[in-house]
């Protein structure tokens, strides 16, 4: 954030140079994986993955269980480390920082700075159960961003309104339905004003009846032009509606990607076709 001094004169066209995030032109990759390798013990979960997301783009990741979908998001959020390769977020290397002109492994300070770019919504909501809905949302803005309590509460109000839960601010998460909890989780992530939102199967822990209300909120967010979205989901119909691009993952690689109409409806690859057959009615 305070790096406006570095290399912001470089041509925005050459993706290699470090550009200050605020000036990354739309269409410029805000997320960039280059030959990223991730292993858990013996198994290789991401296998020289190359992957890019442009600023403002809405990308959906689909693929069978264990193909590494969550791992991509978790690495971005620095919840997992990588074994090899380079990742850039908003023009800056995620796992490295520049010191005296050389790239060195990132310190905790740099990682915290990078995480501020992103917000994440988890499959299991992961609300803080011992705090009211409002505290859940204000806690980080107050103690991480240093907002005043009043300011943070105001912000909480705003995002609760956005997800349609203004009147539940004083309840505890256990008093809400799963769908409501997930909407609070979205509000909580938004209150940190991230440029990128990561969603990891946000509806798969929900009763089928409650899926709709969460998808509605996400759909509304997808309307925001500036917000970059990376979404893992099994809701094919929804993916088709909101995505600019769909990536089909298998065994840690992207097998097929493209506009949803192509990947979801008329996939080229047999692996994709097989996978989609498992879903009763992709169209």
């Amino acid at each position: 954030m305070n790096s406006t001094d570095t290399a912001n004169t470089a041509s925005p066209e050459t993706g290699q140079t470090i550009a200050a995030p605020d000036q990354a032109a739309a269409g410029e990759p805000i997320i960039k994986f280059e030959k990223v390798i991730k292993r858990f013990g013996d198994i290789t979960v991401l296998d020289e993955l190359d992957f890019q997301v442009r600023k403002g783009e809405k990308v959906t990741i689909i693929g069978p269980s264990g193909s590494g979908k969550s791992t991509v998001l978790r690495i971005l959020m620095t919840l997992e480390t990588i074994n090899d390769g380079v990742i850039h977020v908003a023009g800056k290397p995620l796992w490295h920082e520049e010191k005296d002109g050389r790239l060195v492994p990132a310190g905790e300070e740099h990682l915290r700075e990078m995480r501020k770019e992103m917000g994440m919504v988890f499959q299991q909501f992961n609300l803080f159960p011992h705090m009211t809905v409002r505290r859940n949302i204000t806690e980080a803005p107050v103690h991480v961003l240093g907002l005043s309590k009043a300011k943070a509460a105001e912000r909480a109000e705003k995002y609760l309104d956005l997800v349609g839960l203004a009147e539940h601010a004083d309840k505890f998460p256990s008093q809400l339905s799963g769908g409501q909890q997930q909407r609070v989780a979205i509000a909580r992530a938004l209150a940190m004003r991230p440029n990128i939102m990561l969603f990891d199967e946000p509806t798969s822990a929900l009763d089928p009846e409650l899926v709709g209300e969460v998808l509605n909120v996400i759909q509304r967010l997808a309307g925001e032009h500036d917000l970059t979205m990376l979404l893992v989901t099994h809701e094919m119909q929804f993916a088709k509606q909101i995505s600019d691009r769909v990536c089909f993952f298998d065994k840690g690689r992207i097998v097929e990607e493209g506009p949803p109409e192509q990947v979801l409806v008329a996939p080229h690859e047999t692996r994709t076709q097989e996978f989609l057959k498992g879903f009763i009615n992709p169209e």
């Binding site: 994440m120 988890f122 339905s177 909580r188």
Partner: protein, 223 residues
């Protein structure tokens, strides 16, 4: 009824038992958190100290600890030229508090570790520092988890106070011994004594349940 006459001296002893229970439980709670959190520390020295404390006080018998503090520590003090003569109340409180604290430390550690990893991840995603995660997220969630075990430990502690009678502290069990010395009425004295301890334990259990409910209020609701 003869045993009515036991009641007064026993009640005097009961007060000592109550005081001792309260002091040592407080000391135990402090030790529990200090060493329980210490055992999870990334600093190896703090971790080693915590592990040693827990293993030593859990690994030896309470009565051995009590006798050691009361009889052996003064001799050790003599050898190194420091006055380590503890009076019985001090020795009793220390032994009981540290012993229960070692068990409590494991409870604290377990409860903190039982906070799901997903909570840590959610907190990290919101950019909390590790220290903030411990104090704002993990501990507040862990405390209600600890309460049932703490309740059991408090009752355990109450029962253990009876052992201080063996270092001549005038608690309820000690008074009972005195009365029996005098009257030789074993049945009356011990029956009364057992029921007094039982009653105190029930009260203590009730208090701990109330406490449990008050710290876990957020756990009400649908699930």
């Amino acid at each position: 009824m003869e045993w009515i006459s036991y009641l007064n001296p026993l009640l005097q002893g009961a007060w000592v038992t109550v005081e001792l229970t309260v002091y040592s439980t407080i000391l135990g709670a402090i030790a529990s958190f200090a060493f329980g959190i210490g055992k999870l520390s990334r600093n190896w020295l703090i971790k080693a100290i915590s592990v040693c404390f827990i293993e030593v006080f859990r690994g030896t018998s309470l009565l051995v600890q009590l006798f050691w503090l009361y009889f052996a520590l003064p001799i050790l003090g003599q050898k190194i030229g420091v006055d380590l003569r503890l009076d019985p109340v001090m020795a009793g409180t220390l032994a009981l508090g540290l012993n229960i604290g070692a068990y409590g430390a494991e409870v604290v550690r377990g409860a903190i570790q039982a906070v799901p990893g997903s909570q840590h991840e959610a907190a990290k995603a919101l950019d909390f520092t590790p220290r903030q995660v411990l104090w704002r997220i993990a501990l507040p969630q862990a405390i209600p988890e600890m309460m049932p075990s703490f309740g059991n430990l408090a009752v355990q502690n109450l029962k253990d106070t009876a052992l201080v009678s063996l270092i001549s502290l005038g608690d309820m069990a000690f008074r009972a011994e005195q009365i029996r010395n005098f009257t030789q009425d074993s049945i009356g004295v011990y029956t009364l004594l057992l029921f007094m301890y039982f009653g105190m334990a029930l009260v203590l259990t009730g208090v701990m349940k109330l406490l449990e409910r008050s710290v876990g209020r957020w756990r009400v609701g649908r699930t």
